[in-house]
Amino acid sequence: MTDLLSSLRYEDWILHALIWLPLVGMAHVVVSSSERAKKLAFVWSLLVFVLSLGLWWGYEPGGGGFMLESSTPWIEAWGVSYALGVDGISVFMVMLTTFTSAIAILGSFEYVKTRRKAFYALMLLLETGVLGVFLATDIFLFYVFFELTLVPMYFIVGIWGGERRIYAAVKFFLYTAVGSLLMLVAILYIYFGGSAGSFAYEAFLNADLSLREQLWLFAAFALAFGIKVPVFPLHTWLPDAHVEAPTPGSVVLAAVLLKMGTYGFMRFLLPFFPGAAQHPTVVAVMLVLGVVGIIYAAWVAAVQPDAKKLVAYTSVAHMGFVVIGIFALTLNGLQGGMVVMISHGISTGALFLLLGMMYERRHTRLIEDFGGLGRAAPLFATAFVITALASIGLPGTSGFVGEFLALLGTFETHALAAILAATGVVFAAYYMLPMVQRVLFNKLDRPENRKFPDLSRREILILAPMVALMIGIGVHPTPILERMEPSVQLVLERVEGAGATPSTASAGSPDVGPDGYAGSARPGGHALLPGTASAPSRRVEPPFAGLGSQEPVPATPVRED
């Protein structure tokens, strides 16, 4: 296999192809007819998925850094490049994305009946955006893709969604935008604060930031990613968006878009701000939010009459496991978080597809409207039960591996958090099993449910690979774990290695000015644009005198000319 790939010079073009092929597919869909749109979209997304499979062989877990790297200047004046790369963390996110995109498009054939061309064009645009997020190694490029995913999702929810679709779409959009725009300011701050006029990942890693700066920047990044995840108090957009979104939208949202947040935690938040990430208060806050999210979401899910809303809340709970796994700052915790991300992508995606199939047949999502489907549709029921068990985290399914590792990793450093979070697994059974029972096993007392058709061939084709993956990862997770380990290890090393220096050296050190940035650590004027190097650069103190200043407003701004 490796020989075949290298004979195709796979490593040279694959990342570019992954990002841009969906866009080509989008153009193809737009110019095609409305009837052919769905098949074309599926073929294109399948092609992208098949190509991405090569990464399983093409990616060699070496030192854990980026592989298949390439970088071309994009906006030279600002030091922005079109830089792509893949490592042991993003490779799985990429494959998860290509997989769920193809599945979601296949799963939408019956659900989306109007304005098909626009729908499939937006789905493919979304795929480009998400793959760009996972593959970009330039912070500016990452930001562009990160924001780009908002637009197609906004329209997918807003046009093909349910009753309150506009409310849900706008809420989703604005929530995410608040976080990401503040992150943009934070990115700019680092750009001026030591990345030497470059947006490259490495330059940001080496940025020289004091602990105080790190804490503020950490807050901005954590807000952006935390909304996306979503971490507990920021999650309120999620149930609305999930419930109102059309099935394929929910699938992509749950399986992939939420992962952009946790991926951001691992890729950017921890390595960029090691001092803040190890700060005891920060760790405590993140762990508490994670644990509260797990337990709170489980309780709320348990009382939902709407099956889709129930599954939406389980997403919040699952992502809570990822958060505690990440902020436990142990190898097991981070790896567990990664596996939960993959497993949640597959199992929750499958749950949304199953609920979508129920909705297509009965046009309702209320749990009480169903009952006894196990007798009417045995294949459907089998898939449903396996998926639900994977979602709970039954041993032998992918959910168990992830949650077990995440809890194990958390227990190593924060036993109490792990113990409390472990109750979440019990609650998961408490909300999921009664739902399964009421939908599949109670009396088959409604005449509509007697005629509930079993899975069609297309639906079997959708669910079979997902069920296989849930069990496959559950039984034999080693190939995944060993591929991600070097990269996860590298994240940990970056946190622990680099973190010690600024956190001890500059806590309360004199060079942290009252204005919130370390005066001596920051060079005066960067040569941002050709020919402006000699221009005077102003360092103005705004009337509010920065963040948390104790000094009175200075009478004159500092001017460095």
């Binding site: 994009w74 046009i159 679709r165 700019l188 705004p542 509010f544």
Partner: protein, 503 residues
């Protein structure tokens, strides 16, 4: 070719774009009178005006590439800042005229006067951007303003248009008074109205502080009125709403751009030495403008009025760059104004189309289902709105990022945070138009798309505009370099040259 002003012909050459356009404008005025006797829609006159703009752009290009000036103290600057600004105005005016063509025909406006007024206003704008003398700035401002006053009230049969013209005129005259008084005080303080001389006087400390401070304040008020910064913005929504929509597009884009160009040159070049005196005032004006413009736009139910408030908000973003006051920010202002011109006129062009070349149907409900009825126009409007909102992938994002870059270099973090948070607010009202267009079903056969007839020319302009917006969002490199080169040397030219000559 080197202009040293030994022969008076050099003056003509230095003012070639302005001369071309003035002559052209008078020609159209005369042609309009003679055409009126024959009847007709006057569309040809519009195209003739566009040709005039094209020739002026060529003349501008000749000056850009082929001409240098001897000393940088002439009343009219021959610097790249001016040429970049001129191209921005000419592009904006060209777009505005082309989207006016069907409107003028349908509303039976006097084509000759209409198009020549636009050309004269552009001449005024070009003087504002090129002036190195406060008096020339004032002349340019008046030339532009008088043209635009007339254009705002141009549709005599419409009461709202007349009201807009009168309101704009009265308040504009008031603001001109402030500006003129400010110029007089600055002249009194420094003994010169030449911006470079003023800059030197201010830098060397020879200016009289007691006159300088009120002079700076009055200049700031005059310009703040013209760029409709809060709290001098009261006229904007009413005037923008009442004026004929193509004129509103022209005002929101080019008039604001011209005011900012002059604002920039006066404050960042002329008054650079007293930066300490004015940055706090502008800081607050910028902050308040962003907040008020965006928040009030949220509650507007009329798209035209919403765009008026959004243009106030964009003025706030640009003011952030003025407060930053460095070269990055100045280049950012140039680039932003270019992008802003394209996307604002584009958005207004759709408003004209939905209103079917009249002042009706500009409420947000009138956009219900528009996207599905006219997919191309809906898509174009969506791109313009996303660009106005500053969304990645569009030139609006790059432009807004440029402003943030300038603010960040100056360490204006609080203003930067206000800028991005108010941007989130702006997402709401821009997206609201998008959701009415795409997410609501048209109510009946009488949807907006049913009646709207869009001429080919408007389509072409809009497609070009969207292409520029997307190109500027994906490959902004060349335009960014051009903007950066245009401010290169702007702020230290004479100061550096005059320093050794000083005592």
């Amino acid at each position: 070719m080197l202009l040293d002003y030994t022969s008076s012909f050099h003056y003509v050459l230095a003012l070639l774009p302005e001369v071309v356009l003035s002559v052209w404008g008078m020609g159209i005025l005369v042609a309009g009178v003679s055409r009126k006797q024959q009847g007709g829609s006057g569309q040809e006159l519009g195209w003739v005006a566009v040709a005039g703009l094209a020739f002026a752009a060529l003349a501008n290009g000749w000056l850009y590439f082929g001409v240098a000036e001897e000393a940088a103290t002439a009343m009219i600057a021959l610097d790249r800042f001016r040429f970049f600004a001129n191209w921005t105005f000419l592009l904006g005016a060209g777009f505005a005229i082309i989207i006016s063509l069907p409107y003028v025909a349908r509303q039976k406006l006097q084509a000759g006067e209409y198009y020549s007024l636009i050309l004269f206003a552009v001449v005024g704008m070009m003087f504002m951007a090129s002036a190195r003398d406060l008096m020339v700035i004032f002349l340019g401002l008046e030339l532009m303003s008088i043209g635009v006053y007339a254009l705002a009230g141009f549709n005599r049969r419409d009461r709202r248009s007349a009201e807009a013209g009168l309101k704009y005129f009265l308040l504009g005259a008031f603001a001109s008074g402030f500006l003129l008084f400010g110029i007089a005080l600055v002249y009194g303080a420094t003994g010169s109205a030449n911006i470079e001389v003023v800059a030197d006087a201010v830098r060397n400390g020879t200016a009289v502080d007691a006159l300088m401070a009120p002079g700076v304040a009055l200049l700031a008020i005059g310009f703040a009125f013209k760029v409709s910064a809060v709290p001098f913005h009261m006229w904007t929504p009413d005037v923008y709403e009442g004026a004929p929509t193509p004129v509103t597009a022209f005002m929101a884009a080019s008039v604001k751009a011209a005011a900012f160009m002059a604002f920039l040159r006066v404050f960042l070049v002329g008054l650079d030495g007293v930066y300490d005196q004015w940055w706090t005032i502008l800081w607050w004006i910028a902050a308040v403008t962003m907040v008020v413009g965006n928040v009030v736009a949220v509650v507007q139910s009329d798209v035209k009025r919403m765009l008026a408030y959004s243009s106030i908000a964009h003025g706030g973003y640009l003011l952030v760059a003025l407060v930053a006051g460095n070269d990055v920010a100045a280049a950012g202002v140039l680039f932003y104004l270019l992008v802003y011109t394209i996307m604002t006129i584009g958005a207004f062009a759709i408003v004209v189309t939905v209103g079917n070349q009249s002042e009706r149907r500009s409420r947000i409900e009138d956009y219900t289902g528009f996207g599905w009825q006219r997919p191309l126009l809906g898509l174009l409007m969506t791109v313009f709105l996303l660009s106005l909102a500053g969304f990645p992938g569009t030139a609006g994002f790059i432009a807004k990022y440029y402003l943030l870059l300038g603010a960040a270099e100056a360490g204006l973090w609080v203003l930067a945070v206000i800028l991005v948070l108010t941007t989130v607010v702006s997402y709401w009202y821009y997206l609201r138009v998008a959701w009415y267009m795409w997410m609501k079903e048209p109510t009946g056969a009488d949807g907006p798309g049913a009646a709207a007839v869009t001429p080919l020319a408007t389509h072409i302009v809009l497609v070009i505009g969207v292409a520029l917006v997307i190109l500027g969002g994906l490959f902004p490199g060349a335009a960014l370099d051009l903007a950066a080169a245009s401010v290169d040397g702007l702020r230290q030219a004479v100061g550096a040259a005059a320093a050794p000559a000083g005592p």
